[in-house]
Symmetry: C2
Subunit: 283 residues, 2 copies
């Protein structure tokens, strides 16, 4: 595995022939099985797998956890080498945002909903860095986790709108044995908070079962999820959304195959997200 810390060395490490089949896995490091499943997905479909690790300042708000976001480059590097990744791109901020940096991408309409409501500017940062990585790596395929479903939806829209011919692969959420979706931020949780946090996946299982059982009224599903999460006093709800998959708009009726049930909660300072997807975000 070749490790590149600069844009120039990354460009040199990539093959000149664009037909080689390059898969890109963009991450912020602190890797877990969710990330590694993306690397395996890329390895299955591409000749070359490029993984980026960059804790992107542009997608953190002023009060957020940019400074304390977990970082463990040595462990990450060993894990990726073990998975057979070909190139690890690990730039610092001055490589990605050389001064004066001025250009940002907005995916309007999708970026202010759900997570965008409590994290203004977050998806501008995500869309911008992902577009930059696409331009640098020129992958045939890019791999994202379904846990960040809104992010995947925004990238899908960006790809269409900006006429990029990158295939988007959105792979399933990977969970711990207790049901909690893997997240680099789970290490912030105390034992009590972690137990409480399980109400989040439980509420989504409830939603899934209700929809599978024929329930089509968004309001009813949302209310059941609210009740489930409300039983845990250590959690506060950021949002619970039962929305259409194309526009993230609340609709009275759930359309299976085109629905996203997503929720964000806080346990202390830690914000956790999870979702149930009825449909496909890959393209």
């Amino acid at each position: 595995m070749k490790t590149c810390r600069t844009v120039a060395s990354l460009r040199q490490a990539l093959p000149a022939a664009a037909g080689a089949g390059i898969g890109l896995v963009p991450t912020m490091g602190a890797l877990h099985e969710g990330h590694l499943s993306l690397v395996r997905g890329s390895r299955r479909e591409n000749d070359i797998t490029v993984v980026s690790i960059f804790v992107n300042p542009a997608q953190f708000g002023p009060g957020e956890d940019l400074q304390r976001y977990p970082r463990d480059p040595e462990r990450d590097s060993a894990l990726l080498a073990g998975e057979g990744a070909d190139v690890l791109f690990m730039p610092d901020a001055s490589q990605m945002y050389p001064s004066p940096y001025r250009t940002y991408v907005d995916v309007t309409g999708l970026d202010e909903k759900l997570c965008g409501r409590s994290r203004p500017g977050h998806f501008r940062g995500v869309a911008t860095i992902v577009l930059k990585l696409f331009n640098l790596v020129r992958p045939q395929r890019a791999y994202f986790g379904q846990k960040d479903a809104q992010q995947a939806l925004i990238i899908r829209q960006l790809l269409r709108d900006l006429d990029l011919s990158v295939q988007l692969r959105v792979l399933p959420i990977v969970r711990d044995a207790d049901g909690l979706a893997l997240s680099s931020r789970n290490i912030y949780l105390s034992a009590d908070q972690r137990r409480a946090a399980l109400a989040l996946p439980r509420s989504l299982e409830l939603a899934r079962d209700m929809i599978a059982g024929g329930q089509r009224r968004s309001r009813v599903v949302r209310a059941a999820m609210e009740a489930e999460i409300a039983r845990e006093p250590l959690l506060t709800v950021d949002y619970i959304a039962v929305v259409g998959l194309d526009d993230l708009e609340e609709a009275a009726e759930i359309v299976p195959g085109h629905a996203l049930v997503a929720a964000a909660v806080r346990a202390g300072q830690t914000r956790l997200i999870d979702n149930y997807l009825s449909g496909d975000l890959s393209c």
Copy 2:
């Protein structure tokens, strides 16, 4: 010359091998000698020259001249064939902005100055359509006129910030015999307005001569230009700017080689721009 009206047909018309040396000349049509000089510039340096004609709604504001902007596709097409352009891309708005369209690019800091002040949203529209054309055509080089100096500066910043490896060529302003910079909008002018409009290039010649003569105080140059334009009662000044070339900021002192003197005036409903550049915008 192959004419393509859809994104799909454009993709088919372009060679698969990226190394072919493609030059892109983005235009809004109503072609004049300024545009044709860009086509010639591209023909000199590239195997294939792609010209786009698209009156981009996203770069027109609500009160602007989108509807009456001059259009003459047959004449344009004949001119381009005569110049030896290889591909003419002439899409309609539904090709470039298929519904739902959501993604826009902002080059912050540069986009609200000079023309951006009286045309809010204009450079968002420009940056977005140019990025889309870069992604569709994947040119090695792109050709813009110096008359739109702020536009060229914004594209240069976008290329750097988004890690695109397109070379930017900014070619000199082409003028009519009387000194007026060529513009598709010049046909809006009455004979009296046209005579009055010549104060704009005269004021820029004055600035050029003052700087060549050693004048370094922005304020003095600007005042002389104001006085020159004020002699024409048919003109109103939109802005007169003596600014640094990298940030478009007013500075007390002019630094030759890094200065842009730019002005916009109105004659009736018609807005005209022109500039004197001390430095280079190509990259």
